[in-house]
């Protein structure tokens, strides 16, 4: 019995490995390692919290749990876009911190083999480049793989805090 469990666990870990949940912001497609993702929910009523950086939209009630939601568009300094039916909140759990990420659309779960993942180019004038940990090649397309830790732990905000 326990052996079976063990096998299942291993199998689960195996199936999670190399899998990425992809979502789109405008024309670009991003990927998050699937192990971070808890669930995907539709748009919710967001309670605004004053005095927060613009990209933190506020807090939502996820079955009794209060979690903050970030607008990934604003986080990457893209222009804001009206939320619609396709707007989703990806709930990620990073080091025990649950956070909702607002994205334009959720695409699919992709399997990207290790050999197709490369480091991002060092030269880039994109502001959000530092949130990208790697680039995955899938056929002709390129998926930008996010570094979730950097997405949350925001040196920028901390710097602002000090200035204030």
């Amino acid at each position: 019995m326990s052996e079976l469990d063990q096998n299942q666990l291993e199998a689960e870990e195996d199936t999670q490995k190399g899998k990425f949940l992809t979502f789109a912001l405008g024309s670009e497609v991003y990927g998050i390692e699937i192990k971070y993702v808890t669930e995907i929910i539709g748009m919710q009523t967001i309670t605004e919290v004053p005095d927060l950086p613009e990209y933190v939209k506020g807090i939502i009630n996820l079955r009794g749990k209060i979690i903050p939601v970030l607008d990934v568009r604003l986080r990457f300094k893209k222009t804001a876009r009206e939320y619609n039916d396709r707007t989703c909140i990806i709930v990620v759990d990073i080091k025990e911190v649950a956070v909702g990420l607002i994205v334009d659309t959720v695409a699919e779960v992709l399997n990207i083999p290790e050999q197709d993942i490369v480091l991002p180019p060092q030269v880039s004038n994109h502001d959000y480049q530092r949130y990208i940990s790697a680039i995955g090649k899938v056929g002709q397309d390129v998926k930008l793989i996010l570094d979730c830790n950097k997405l949350l732990n925001d040196e920028e905000a901390e710097r602002l805090e000090i200035v204030r």
Binding site: T47, V49, P50, N61, G64, I66, V97, A98
Partner: protein, 683 residues
């Protein structure tokens, strides 16, 4: 899933039950010490010790069972001889040391160690005490113990003579059982029930063989006495007694009526004793009811529940409320005429609402139990340090979240210890200063502005500003210029690590590890501690616990699209502004004059940068809030309603900000921010 929710295990249950009993016992003993004498609570103490003995014996914890047994003996004796004068304080000490011993053993049990405590010293002390009171007893010293039986016998015979019928004989039998048969009281009971076929009237001593296992010992040494009236022949009775199980010996004799009439006069004298006892014991229950009313709160019955289950339940109810709203307010139902459906829906809403209220209140626990533990600490310390200290407890019914209770007990103990050890002066010093000899430590809890305050106040020596400053300089905590420091700033130094102004280290405190740990622990639950003192008058430590997870009454208000909750306790009034009340000063600050008082205006939408259609002071509603003497008028769009809300902390990812105390879930599942009135007024 099932196994996760069931957690019953033998020692676990024993530990839990015994701890509860011990806590109760401690309270009882300390309470009766205060009210002068253990008399009233004697039965209760006896019962508790008896239960502990029984369950310990069942779990084969011999040392606990033995020591409990010896205490039980003492109280059995006292209960039977109520007029006995006992050294109450000595007895209290003995019982408390037993409580400590058992608690220590149980703590070992909890951590999985084996029980090694040796109770023989304690048991001997108790037995010596029992022997002592037995000899001290004026009644018992003069009369043999059997006098009780004599009295019973006489009264029985007398009663039988009045009611007795012709042809009945009154018999007296004394039965002894085999030395090692055990459970003599139950054997005696068997005899009684079998004798029932012969006897018409029956009386026996000791009387409470069913309820009281300690009678077994008495029967072992003194025999079991039965008086009965019977029509059966003596031979038949002899046959009956001869076949009693485990019988060692017996005596049986018929009592002559005339025999009973002889000692009439001495009996009258004898009766004086029991008469007094009767009136006393009649008086005692009356006293006891007064006491029991006081301790009613402690006597409520409780069950303990895993907190994780509570959390799950609370979340589930939250979801239920949302689901209910989604069903009953479903847009697809609009414009439909569904009388019966809406009637049923209203019923559902009522029930879910009540369910939510109950679940919210379950997590709240009064501080009483934590506070009462301090009584013991103060008492023990006062004795050891040879001081006279009285602990006054105020507002123990204040409810706080279970988590907070668990985290507040240790810091509170430190503060109380400090107050008694450092604060209260020895009796001679107090006398010299002209203070009342008995020092007072006041432990108070109250709700204020949505926070819970716990205040420890003593009327002792207070803090010495110069001493603290000097120490702070020694430790390099001070810059050169320290003249500008306020008293509060100076006193705050005692919360720093390694800071003790007491020169000598005592058993209780003085190592300077206390206060910084206290401050740290309180900060860990999001609270704050402040120190205030006046030299020679006393010290006050105030702990403010934030309302995280506490339930508050809140007024929900609308600003733009946002809904905020204002703690009702902070709201003084709400009103619509009239033109003549508004004042604007040259700096364009708005103020409102009401009943001769001037209040600043705070536009919430500006403060929180919210877009709203109601920017005009005359259109919206003004909410006057007040906290600790400071007031302001908040401009909101509209008042939505008032309800009890559970305060939740904001997610850690969002940094704490001024003006927001936390958030809460509204009935429809949306999140509302709770305003921190204190923070709002200050900005």
């Amino acid at each position: 899933m099932v196994s996760e929710y069931s957690q019953v295990s033998g020692p676990g249950l024993f530990v839990f039950e015994t701890n509860q009993l011990l806590d109760k016992l401690e309270l009882l003993i300390l309470g009766s010490e205060k009210n002068g004498g253990l008399q009233a609570s004697m039965d209760e103490v006896f019962r508790i010790m008896h239960t502990i003995k029984g369950s310990a014996a069942m779990m084969a914890f011999q040392n606990i069972s033995l020591v409990a047994h010896s205490v039980e003996d003492v109280f059995y004796f006292l209960r039977e001889n109520r007029q006995t004068t006992v050294d109450d304080s000595k007895l209290t000490d003995l019982v408390l040391s037993v409580v400590d011993f058992i608690k220590g053993e149980i703590a070992k049990l909890e951590t999985g160690k084996s029980l090694t405590g040796d109770a023989s010293g304690l048991t001997n002390a108790i037995q010596a005490f029992l022997a002592e009171i037995k000899t001290l007893d004026p009644v018992l010293a003069g009369l043999p113990l059997k006098s009780d039986y004599e009295v019973m016998r006489q009264s029985f015979i007398e009663a039988c003579r009045i009611e007795g019928e012709e042809g009945q004989t009154i018999c007296e039998a004394v039965v002894f059982f085999d030395d090692d048969c055990g459970m003599e009281n139950l054997r005696a009971l068997t005899v009684l029930s079998e004798l029932g076929t012969y006897a018409q009237k029956l009386e026996y001593a000791p009387g409470d063989i069913v309820e009281n296992d300690a009678t077994a010992d008495l029967i072992r040494y003194e025999g079991f006495r039965i008086w009965f009236t019977t029509t059966a022949s003596m031979t038949a009775l002899h046959d009956f007694f001869a076949q009693v199980m485990f019988l060692k010996e017996y005596s049986l004799m018929a009592i002559d009526h005339s025999d009973a009439s002889k000692p009439r006069i001495p009996r009258c004298i004898d009766l004086d004793g029991p008469l007094v006892t009767a009136s006393e014991s009649a008086g005692q229950p009356a006293d006891a009811t007064g006491d029991s009313e006081q301790s009613l709160a402690a006597k409520q019955s409780f069950i303990s529940v895993n907190v994780a289950k509570m959390d799950t339940l609370m979340d589930l109810v939250g979801e239920l409320v949302i689901a209910e709203a989604m069903v009953t307010q479903n847009p697809e139902l609009q414009d439909l005429n569904l009388d019966k459906f809406f009637k049923a829906a209203r019923q559902l809403r009522k029930i879910t609402g009540e369910l939510q209220d109950v679940v919210m209140s379950i997590r709240m626990v009064p501080l009483a139990a934590t506070f009462h533990k301090m009584t013991r600490i103060v008492r023990d310390m006062a004795r050891n340090l040879d001081k006279q200290v009285e602990l006054e407890i105020v507002g123990e019914q204040t409810e706080v979240d279970k988590n907070i209770i668990e985290n507040i007990a240790d810091p509170l103990m430190h503060l109380i210890r400090n107050a008694v050890d450092h604060g209260i002066e020895p009796v001679d010093v107090r006398a010299a200063k002209g203070k009342p000899l008995t020092g007072k430590v006041r432990l108070e809890a109250k709700n204020s502005g949505g926070d819970v305050w716990i205040i420890v106040q003593d009327d002792g020596g207070g803090l010495n500003r110069e001493k603290i400053l000097q120490k702070a300089r020694e430790r390099g905590l001070l810059d050169q210029d320290d003249s500008g420091l306020t008293d509060k700033q100076v006193y705050a130094f005692i919360l720093k690590p390694g800071f003790s102004t007491k020169e000598c280290v005592t058993e209780y405190s003085g190592r300077g590890v206390g206060m910084d740990v206290v401050a740290k622990n309180i900060a860990a639950i999001g609270g704050a501690i402040s120190v205030d003192s006046a030299e020679g008058v006393g010290t006050t430590m105030s702990i403010r616990i934030p309302l995280t997870l506490a339930i508050i009454d809140g007024m929900t208000v609308k600003v733009g699209d946002s809904v905020y909750t204002v703690p009702t306790i902070a709201i003084k009034e709400s009103f619509r502004l009239r033109e003549q009340n508004l004042i604007t000063d040259p700096d364009n600050r708005e103020m409102i004059m009401i009943r001769g008082q001037c209040y600043p205006v705070l536009r919430l939408h500006e403060r929180f940068k919210i877009k709203t259609a109601v920017a005009d002071l005359y259109e919206g509603i003004m909410l006057m809030v007040e906290l600790e003497g400071k007031s302001a008028c908040l401009l909101v769009d509209a008042l939505l309603g008032q309800q009890q809300v559970v305060v939740k902390a904001l997610p850690g990812y969002i940094k704490k900000m001024q003006g927001i105390a936390g958030c809460t879930l509204l009935g429809d599942g949306s999140v509302s921010l709770i305003l921190d009135v204190d923070g709002l007024i200050q900005t």
